[in-house]
Amino acid sequence: MVCVDDGSRDDTDEAALRAGAHVVRHPVNLGQGAAIQTGVEYARKQPGATVFATFDADGQHQVKDVIRMIDRLSADDVDLVVGTRFADPGVVSRIPLAKRLVLRAAARLSPRNRKLGLTDAHNGLRVFNKTVADGLNITMSSMSHASEFITLAYENRWRVAEEPVEILYTDYSKSKGQPLLNGVNIIFDGLLRGRTSR
């Protein structure tokens, strides 16, 4: 377990270390995309690491979902399993209406999401193998990393599957979540992606 402390000023790193996590601490705040890249770069250096998972630390994800996704990764012979909160018959999360509409629209409008058959544009729960971990190069430090992840999957032809997961919208996770207006930034970053040096 790797905990990436994105430059927080409280005792997050100490608490995580005591709880038994490897702690990697950004000296300054960079954003979630940068934190995921750091965590994966740390994890892929560990000898024997074969399966990787990203897991938002705000309490919205469930451990049982990760376990199911790991099983799926080995059973289905895919490179990447992405969580979706919009699985039709499966688990239903209580998603605020506005958020549901925007996220669904984003998934439908993104050509890459469509080609890969993904229904959730921004799910923080992902399980993947060493191929994906080694190829991962997230350059969007901000929240735009989720779409960049999908773009990378598309460009590198990783085999992607989707697994229904439950998202808990607690007061804490809502306070840590991104406002919907941030979608504007994500679209803009997506248009400029690849224009900057890698």
């Binding site: 601490r25 954003g31 224009r195 040096s197």
Partner: protein, 114 residues
């Protein structure tokens, strides 16, 4: 459509394409310098013979030379803003990579239990 309208639209689009296509290669830097030299020569000429800008403006369908200069200024400003934004993004990425290298060097491993 006036000539000036066509010219303005084409320049805006050309600048955008230029900006998005070429990423800091030696050639594009050289063109920036060439453009700057042309700009300086043009400005000196316009300063010495301000009425001539009106003549050029009239060729393009603009009444006054001052208006033409304003239009050109707007294009230059948009170009500067966008290129500053792109450069800022580049630097941000380098900064993130630097911070990541520091973070990975100082990674802390929990004590083995059991």
């Amino acid at each position: 459509m006036n000539w000036i309208q066509a010219l303005l639209i084409v320049s805006v689009l050309a600048l955008l394409v230029y900006l998005l296509r070429s990423r800091g290669s030696a050639r594009s830097k050289a063109w920036v310098k060439v453009g700057y030299v042309v700009f300086v020569i043009g400005s000196i000429y316009a300063i010495l013979r301000p009425d001539d800008t009106t003549v050029v403006a009239n060729w393009l369908g603009v009444d006054r030379g001052a208006d033409l200069i304003t239009y050109m200024l707007i294009i230059a400003f948009a170009f500067t803003t966008l290129s500053a934004y792109m450069r800022f993004k580049d630097i941000e990425l380098k900064y993130a990579r630097l911070a990541r290298a520091v973070a990975l060097q100082n990674a802390r491993v929990p004590e083995q239990r059991g």
